[in-house]
Amino acid sequence: MDVADGEFIGLIGPNGSGKTTLLRVLSKVLPVKSGHILLKGENIEKISRNNLAKTMACLSQEISLNLPFSVREMTLMGRFPYLSKLGHETGRDIEVAEEAMKLADISHLSDRLITEISGGERQRALIAMCLAQEPKVLLLDEPTNHLDVGHQLSVLDLIRRLNRQTNMTVVSVFHDLNLAAEYCHKIMVLDDGEVVMFGTPKEVLTSEMIQKVYGAKVLTELNPVSQNPHIIIAADMNHPNQ
């Protein structure tokens, strides 16, 4: 499986199919059991964790944000792989962090506390932290989870902008198939730990695939604006006799 520079890849699949596990393996949190993961031709097993963090940033769902750090302090934590063990930031670190906040459109919140802002703002702040790592690859685990539709779109628009403007490669887990269809160049379907399909949204998002992998009957049609596939859910298709 190859992911090219600057691609936006969506990972989809039912609960427990191994999407998050794949992200964990890709980001070296879990060991590779078989096969290899190459990043620009280099085996990630051989890249030190610290150096990997300078190339690859990952926004996991497992983040706990209990302490009242400001958005600026959180963003600066993204500079961690570049700091000496003493942990003092230089002028350049602060510059990069300010730039990251600007890109993520949260500069106006930089003095607010991460514990006090809304879910969508928090997600953008965490993306700013990822950007402060100056990554070439961004891994995201359901970045729009628990967000309302407005915040979902603002977060995904931000990610698409980064992907287009800075040619950053994005690999993101999606639950919402329509969002995946709309934002991704390619979609990888996982089922029970195996990759069952990998291709463009048009190739992958068919009612047959969804019936087979998710066990749900849906209709697909084309989005009138983007011409991407669009999934239509009709309750009566699955349980007509209820």
């Binding site: 964790r49 302490l67 961690f80």
Partner: protein, 324 residues
């Protein structure tokens, strides 16, 4: 509040600490003119107590900061993984066996050994075959071991004679009466070394508060960091317990209060907590010595009496979260 320069915060805290030391030096169960304090040797005794209070307060507070950061639990404190009951059990076995009369080192040594053995036991119990130590398992293992060891401790207390009983209880309640300068030197050496390492590596604690997976994503070697900090915190706590018994609540309320005042950045929280904790114990010891003079009350009673209500205040405040 979060923007003050670190050195200003340290300077203010140092001045307060110096003031506390001054007050504590001249307050005591017996009122002695300054000239006589030098002749009678009272001054040396008080200086020793103050030094012990400084090191114990700093050690317990910084341990508290570490445990709260690594366990990501606002209720975490230095004794949470069972160090206290392990040390208590070690010391009470020494007292009951009469080892305490053999050497003044018997009690601190057995307490230290008990504390460190307990930590290793808890860590081993929580470790998975892959080498990963999940913090929730660690927390549970700590609570269970703590309870088990406490019951053995209670058993020993219940079957020991009244003299021994008094010694055990007195020791469990915390006591800064220094009986040996060597012990003070050794305990403060351990604390000073650990504290220096923690201050140097304090930024790692910031990263760890986000959780282990995000910390790994930022390039931190999580298991190694966790092991190192647990070891440092346990060494400091064990050294403190060995030198002056159990002093509750310091390691719980000082990190919270300092965080409330200067924010959660561990690069300054660690050292500021050390200074604040030292001040708190110096003052608490002054109170313990003088409040019903000439009788001295255990310092653990004073710290808990102040700490309990203070923690309730934090709990009721609950403006943003339990983390202030």
């Amino acid at each position: 509040m979060h923007k003050q320069k670190s050195w200003i915060i340290y300077l203010v805290l140092l001045v307060i600490l110096a003031g506390a030391c001054g007050v504590s030096l001249f307050a005591g169960a017996v009122r002695v003119p300054i000239s006589e304090m030098f002749e009678s040797g009272i001054i040396q005794l008080r200086i020793a107590r103050i030094l012990l209070a400084i090191f114990a307060g700093a050690a317990l507070s910084v341990s508290g900061v570490i445990f709260q950061a690594l366990l990501r639990n606002p209720l975490a404190e230095p004794y949470i993984l069972g160090v206290s009951s392990g040390a208590g059990l070690g010391a009470s076995i020494a007292i009951v066996l009469g080892l305490g009369t053999l050497s003044i080192w018997a009690l601190p040594a057995t307490a230290f050994a008990g504390a460190m053995l307990t930590i290793f036991l808890v860590y081993r119990l929580a470790r998975e075959p892959s080498g990963v130590v999940p913090v929730y398992t660690l927390l549970l293992a700590g609570v269970i071991v703590n309870a088990a060891l406490s019951s053995i401790l209670m058993f020993i207390v219940s079957v020991s004679s009244s003299d021994e009983l008094h010694n055990v209880v007195w020791w469990l309640l915390g006591n800064l009466q220094i009986f040996d300068w060597q012990l003070l030197k050794l305990a403060s050496f351990v604390v000073a070394v650990c504290l220096t390492v923690v201050v140097i590596l304090s930024n790692d604690l910031n990263i760890m508060t986000m959780g282990e997976e995000p910390a790994a994503h930022l390039g931190l070697n999580v298991e190694r960091t966790k092991k190192l900090f647990f070891l440092l915190a346990s060494l400091m706590t064990a050294a403190t317990v060995a030198a002056c018994g159990l002093i509750g609540f310091v390691g719980l309320i000082i990190p919270h209060s300092v965080r409330l005042a200067i924010g959660p950045d561990h690069r300054r929280l660690v050292f500021a907590s050390a200074l604040a904790g030292a001040t708190f114990l110096v003052l608490a010891d002054g109170v313990a010595r003088t409040i019903i003079a000439p009788t001295e009350i255990p310092i653990g009673v004073v710290t808990t009496f102040i700490g309990g209500p203070f923690f309730l205040f934090l709990l009721k405040r609950k403006k943003r979260s339990y983390w202030c």
